[in-house]
Symmetry: C2
Amino acid sequence: MAFSKQATNLSPLYLSAPAAVELVQSIGLKACLSGIADFIKADFLRWEDFDKSARVANHSFDGVIELMPIADDTTYSFKYVNGHPKNTAMGLPTVMAFGVMADVATGAPLFLSELTLTTALRTAATSALAAKVLARPGSCVMALIGNGAQSEFQALAFQHLLGIETVRLYDLDPKASAKLMANLSGSGLNLQICDSIAQAVKGADIVTTVTADKSCATIITADLIEPGMHINGVGGDCPGKTELSAGVLAASKVFVEYIPQSRVEGDIQQMPDDFEVTELWQVLKGHQPGREHVHQITVFDSVGFALEDFAALRFMYESACALGLGERLSLMPQMKDPKNLFGTLLKTGISSVIEKSERICAA
Amino acid sequence: MAFSKQATNLSPLYLSAPAAVELVQSIGLKACLSGIADFIKADFLRWEDFDKSARVANHSFDGVIELMPIADDTTYSFKYVNGHPKNTAMGLPTVMAFGVMADVATGAPLFLSELTLTTALRTAATSALAAKVLARPGSCVMALIGNGAQSEFQALAFQHLLGIETVRLYDLDPKASAKLMANLSGSGLNLQICDSIAQAVKGADIVTTVTADKSCATIITADLIEPGMHINGVGGDCPGKTELSAGVLAASKVFVEYIPQSRVEGDIQQMPDDFEVTELWQVLKGHQPGREHVHQITVFDSVGFALEDFAALRFMYESACALGLGERLSLMPQMKDPKNLFGTLLKTGISSVIEKSERICAA
């Protein structure tokens, strides 16, 4: 990567939602998931290089809008993402996102990308990356609770990065499970629709929860879990939005992305502040053990961290450049003299700039 | 405004830097400055309606990148802005910015706009708005210290919104002052280039400082100021970046935008935490006095607050809609079933989505 070379170009590359679809279709979803997982792992291994902070959230009655900035010495990124569970009733996605990558040396934006599809990819890639060090070796059956927009990505990431063969589906909305079945027919996965959460979870190696309600839900209770299970909790990701009961957490060894954010947003928001958790990067780096024995219950209490988007943006940017996808946006003024911003307004004389037909002013 | 109507359109309006220039030329700079000042005042008068926070900054050796989010019950906005004083040596602007306005009810982005030019407009509009309640009545002479990218906007805002007739210029770089003289020739302002800060300041009604160095500079010292002056301190806006000496602040009544942010970023970062300051909205609303007598020295320690960008984005959005400027961006995936994000990838069968020519993957 040579960001500094591109920094003098003040027109960032723009990857639209349709262009991101074309990118994934060109590379193949399996290679995208494994490529993003590799980038995330590489960035988690240099955790200490990053200027990190918990995301900034503006909460409203029906949802939340968040900004997730992060930077190392050369590259800055942020993601804009919302969470509005009632959106689907209006025909809108629950989660929509976009993001920007910029050059730290100059502050110039390099890349503006859709991140709705990319967030689904990076979330699934992170889940699989965590499960590789936390799930029982030889795991082949996964329960998938919540069959909404992100569920197919979870199923395929676990199939291709972890070797899951059977996925047991449950959703309050039978149409969501039917949609998943139709979408993944021919994927090679053995898909089974279940009548209850208990039926889906019983005997599974891995339990993935990816539900969307903004309420203190308890999707998984302690009576459902069995020794040796790994729980991949994806849907509980903001204050008041949980999926696992306190009993499940108390019975498990719990791993998170970034403690200051997860204590507020994760399922561990239910637990005391000194409840012991381990950051995933410590396990990836070999500083801390992951799963310690075959009977241990492990939980990855995932909320989504800015570093995952930083890595995903890097992957999408490099891929878009390699494939020649995207277009340039004239987001910044182009000036011969950078101190002469005012000069960009001067077409003819100054008087024509100062006064114009004021009546058309929208104010 | 009827944002909820547009919220179902997932393609935000995009106003590029050239389109923003066209907008300002169409409306006229004077009407833009006064329109933005009106919007800022209207939003400051409903200060308590907003979910406010100090901006989030990622500092690096040569500069800073900041995100500035804010929201009321219906509308959310944020600005991305950098500050890199050494950029001009590379032919790049010191400050570059863009921003987004979104619908709080759904989280859908409505408007993506350049904010480099717009930031200069809103900063000047805010300065003039503050000076209206803080400067001596009948002020007609302004010293303008720092003649870079924002200086012409300050000069014109004070001319048209406050009645300033004479502007005395000083910059370490004589080329910057010459550029300002050339740009504003024919504006009706009496422009005088001065040999020193002291010469520019002596006898002025208003002193505007808009310098860019990221160092604890002292542009204005206590010996330079005279009873009755109003000091509009614009350039000191992040930790370690100041323009006024502590003596100037101690001798003055100081006004700021948002105390939690200004204590960290403003010139008052030099003062103890209990140094008395007044928030501008309190004065605009009539809760607190502004200037109390003709001999009082007043300081507007401006750092730039998210609410000013919120108001400026509203102005640019309404104006762009009224003028038919801008274009739509396909930033979000368009889906018939919002739970079927995966379906956007399915062109033909699933197997063609999973595996593709992996060798072209940039990773």
